[in-house]
Symmetry: C2
Subunit: 641 residues, 2 copies
């Protein structure tokens, strides 16, 4: 695995840096252009959307920039120097730098918006941050469960025969600690070989290890976004809150099926599959641990905690818990809140007594990834009424504000993964990820700037939206007749053709125009698949709005999250009715909120407690036992006209 | 390993039933005769001192007799029938049985004192005991940490999607439980294959397992007396408090040395020895588990907790903790109170999530075996001022009552183990364990009724005591001159001879009298060794009495405990000044109190908490930093005259 940028990009990037891009919080998806940033002296190159601040781009990609305010423009510590490229001088810059410095390229990274390829020099860290910016603009005060305490103990004597452990714990008497047997085993020798100067390693209320001398400067954690398709690991420096390295890779369980249902079915059909799926999850996590530790120059034994955000099936499988009850009505989890776990329980080889925290799940289909997402987006803290939609094969929807939160899950099907789509493919190089029509010409944005090979989810939505917009697809989802097409969009009419018996709209001719062989197209059936997915999602949020007694216009923000949602064009989503009809600026890409939530759980016990509290705060609305679901679903099949 | 009787006997019995004998609480060591009891229908034969009640003899040997009062003569449920042998009718018997029954041999076991070989029929249990008698007459109300709860859960539905674990825990809401991951892993399948009827297995506040159907009738624990020389395991039925099987065997660490110091030295000289010693401890415990489970007809997976009483070195080694700091001044333990442990942490293969409780230690030389002993003898509950002496290579001494307890450790050396004694041997078949002189004739009691082969600790003390008594050893510990001997004890004078340069008293002629070859004798140097041991012990209790401001006559009871103490003749101990000069009835053998304390910890969380509380209640007096120790030691070398 090569390094991949963090954020939503990481899921998509899979195995190439250049295909990825950060999609930071608050950036709505309109500015579709991508630029390259090169950070010196590490020569790390990342691809990000136009307009992202250098601070955000660095932060999401694991590049540490000094800051005590977390990128809010108040501490003026995030000084960077532009080596190549041009970045406008902000009003804050003029207060932070003198004229010579400004001329030399110095800028505050948190205000420096890159609009073209840029090379940036990042000075070494000078302050130790007290907070980090994570998730959707969440500032997290650093208070990790992992604590290190350096102590110098008095040597025992015949008049002071306190045991080694009691001697140590007396210095940590502000904490009520339990002790791991392993820590005890090595304690006596360590104290005596290090002149009674040691560092206690504490996770939550457990003394997990004792290390010789002062090691307080080294404490790491790994946040995992354990996706069905892609798994992302972020190595975090727990003393600074900064990401040190980020890697992603395909979930090795893939051969058992692309979605959770096929993997549950595998276990139902063959009991041995559970062990195999568990082992594959472990192998995936282990490989990522190796990758981020090597890149970050961190010994795995310096990693004392891991956090995992994943859907219920993924976490069940990783823990070796039979997922069968998740897959059949009435869809029961083994537990919402997992017991105290070790990293070794999920097969991760870090410090042997490292702990693991698994974000809790609301239900079989609203898992820990959603809890993490709500945490990262501050749904339970914010007074604004917001709609959170994580779009994937299964679509999780949460509505509300700090007063009340309602959640549900809608079965969107595999359309967005490209599975049931004729020219569908995953978001990999060659996939059309964006489609525009302007002046009768089709514009395509392709991942990796390669020859178009297929259509990924965001491209599918874009294509349908622009064709609805120009009228080539009508409200019922049907391609209009040839005569109407020729009238409505004469320049596009020849693209509306047939493949076999089926009408299609050709997005990209592989050979000469008119020859459909190897072309990339959108078919009538593809539109039907998309309509089913869209209807399921829209039914979900419609019911939640009704339960809450709200109208769509009451929504102050719609957050699009998840492997696919973050890449969706907000205007296309609105155009198709995938999200409520709102001003486009209210529809926002939230990025990889699952991974961000896992990071928050590592950085702050307070945030972690908040995640646990969400279980009590969120009301789950089950759609599958509602008698009116099918009627509403049919109502939602049409596109808004 | 064959079965061995419990109690002090178990340590001694080692590998033969017939050599053993129960030495129950309250029986002072005067009645030296042994008798055989045969319990039907199991045909279990045990050897016990004359005068022991059948209830005690059965109880200590793992034979269940019905009782709700724990042998206190109030419930009248301990009905047994004498098949062969004669047992007097007690006043309680006349109230419990009619004349026909009495004629048929029915007696209350708790009042039936056997004075000769007896065959007894024990009816099957009809009541489930609420209490058990353990230790020195301690009645323990059953409240084990292991609890089983049978529950029948409502099946989940779309309108009741509570997770499996939450569904189960809701039925156990009187307990605030943590959950073992293993229990969670199997929960879903178990609930569904057993119609949501399962038994929760709880140890302390941890849900360790869930079992299909109702298994509440089966719950077992194993109490280990982890001695330096011998290890005893008692399998306990936690639902009745009754022992089911008892086995003992030599500690497999023996090849590393007979005492704790040689084993600590082994680790100091070779770091690899720690792992080897740990493994040997684990092998010893594992073999005993197999033995008691096979004999008791219990699956190891039905054993959910083990308790271990052992000295600090033994528990450190069993847990793989470096014991070196225990062996060198200032004698520091890794910890007094051990953290939460699993049975697997001490290498025991029972239920995979079974817990282990290790009795806490006061200091490097007053270990968990002493804590267990204090618990079993109720030192912290009793208003009487008592002296508790556990005699072995290291001698632990505790003085006090429920108001105040003082403890110390005195280095008695290996004399009592027979190590530095010319004809010394361990208490095994052929060892002279008792010596009397009457009418100028020497009487010997030999273990196993074999040809005398050597002298064990109790025989050594007896031999010296009777020779001091008849005047052949003077107050300074020297054999008197030949002329004096001939005057004082004409019939014994020829036994006072020389071996090499050294004067000896021959206890047993192997060939014709006068030929010292292969004879068993007590040498002048043996007496010196005994004097050193005696002086160390007497110095210990003298200092404790002083610290407490007490005189010897203030002592209401002296309890002799441990592998050797229980076998010591109280009158001999008094005669030599090993214990304070008191009426002989006040000096009592306490039996295997370490093992009994471990049993109490398994049977009652209240008693277990009492053991933990002892740590705060006992004041430890360190002898090795006292400037006056040597002077006092020299003062105590003489025998009382």
């Amino acid at each position: 695995m090569t390094s991949a940028p963090a954020g939503a990009a990481a899921r998509r990037a899979e195995d190439t840096v250049s295909a990825g891009s950060a999609s930071p919080a608050g950036t709505h998806g309109e500015g579709h252009g991508r630029i390259d940033l090169l950070f010196e002296p590490t020569a790390r190159q990342v691809r990000v959307p136009v307009g992202v601040t250098l601070f955000d781009a660095a932060s999401w990609n694991g590049i540490a920039i000094d800051s005590t305010c977390g990128g809010h423009g108040t501490c003026r510590k995030c000084r960077v120097r532009i080596l190549d490229g041009s970045i406008a001088i902000s009003s804050l810059d003029t207060r932070a730098f003198d004229a010579d410095e400004l001329r030399a390229g110095w800028r505050l990274a948190c205000r420096a918006q890159a609009v073209g390829d840029t090379r940036v020099e990042v000075p070494p860290l000078v302050t130790r941050p007290k907070a980090a910016t994570v998730g959707v603009g969440r500032k997290v005060i650093l208070r990790p469960a992992v604590q290190k305490r350096y102590v110098e103990l008095a040597e025992p004597s015949l008049s002071d025969q306190a045991s080694d452990l009691e001697r140590l714990l007396a210095e940590l008497s502000d904490l009520e600690l339990r002790t791991d047997l392993d820590a005890l085993r090595s304690l006596g020798r360590l104290l005596r070989t290090h002149d009674y100067k040691v560092t206690a390693v504490i996770v939550d209320d457990v003394l997990v290890a004792v290390e010789g001398g002062d090691t307080t400067g080294r404490a790491f954690g790994i946040a995992f976004d354990l996706g069905t398709t892609t798994v992302v690991a972020t190595l975090l420096d727990l003393t600074t809150g900064m990401p040190v390295a980020v890697h992603s890779m395909l979930n090795k369980q893939q051969p058992f099926g692309a979605d959770v249902i096929t993997r549950i079915s595998a276990v139902m059909m063959d009991a041995a599959a559970l062990g195999r799926l568990r082992d594959l999850a472990h192998e995936t996590l282990r490989e990522l641990v190796d990758d981020v530790c090597v890149e970050g120059g961190v010994s795995p034994s310096e990693v004392y905690e891991v956090a995992i955000a994943g859907n219920a099936t993924m976490t069940h499988l990783a823990l070796g818990i039979d997922p069968e009850p998740l897959g059949v009505a009435p869809f029961i989890m083994s537990t919402r809140l997992l017991p105290e776990l070790l990293a070794s329980d999920v097969g991760v080889r870090v410090h042997p007594r490292a702990r693991a925290v698994v974000l809790p799940a609301f239900g079989a289909y609203v898992g820990g990834d959603i809890t993490a997402g709500l945490l990262a987006s501050g749904m339970d803290r914010d007074s604004r009424t917001r709609l959170f939609i994580d779009i994937g094969t299964n679509c999780e929807i949460v509505l509300g504000n700090r007063e009340r939160l309602l959640a549900t899950a809608a079965p969107a099907g595999p359309a967005f993964e490209g599975a049931a789509i004729r020219c569908g493919m995953r978001a990999a190089p060659g996939a059309i990820e964006g489609v525009t029509i302007s002046d009768g010409a089709v514009g395509l944005r392709v991942i990796g700037d390669e020859e178009p090979a297929g259509l990924c989810g965001s491209g599918l939505v874009d294509a349908a939206a622009v064709l609805v917009d120009v009228g080539l697809i009508d409200g019922s989802g049907k391609f209009v007749g040839e005569a109407d097409a020729a009238t409505l969009a004469p320049g596009l009419a020849e693209r509306l053709t047939v493949v076999g018996e089926e009408r299609v709209f050709v997005l990209h001719w592989a050979g000469r125009p008119g020859d459909v062989a190897d072309s990339v197209y959108l078919s009538q059936r593809d539109i039907r698949e998309l309509q089913f997915a869209k209807a399921a999602i829209a039914t979900g949020w419609t019911i939640l709005l009704e339960e809450a007694g709200l109208q769509p216009e009451d929504l102050q923000q719609v957050l699009l999250a998840g492997s696919f949602g973050s890449y969706l064009s907000p205007s296309s989503a609105i155009r198709l009715g995938l999200v409520p009809r709102l001003p486009v600026l209210r529809v926002v890409s939230a990025g990889n909120v699952a991974g961000e939530g896992a990071k928050m759980a590592l950085l702050s016990v307070r945030e972690r407690a908040g995640a646990m509290a969400l279980l009590e705060e969120v009301e789950y609305v089950e759609l599958s036992d509602r008698g009116d679901f099918n009627d509403r679903f049919v109502d939602q099949l049409a596109f808004p006209t």
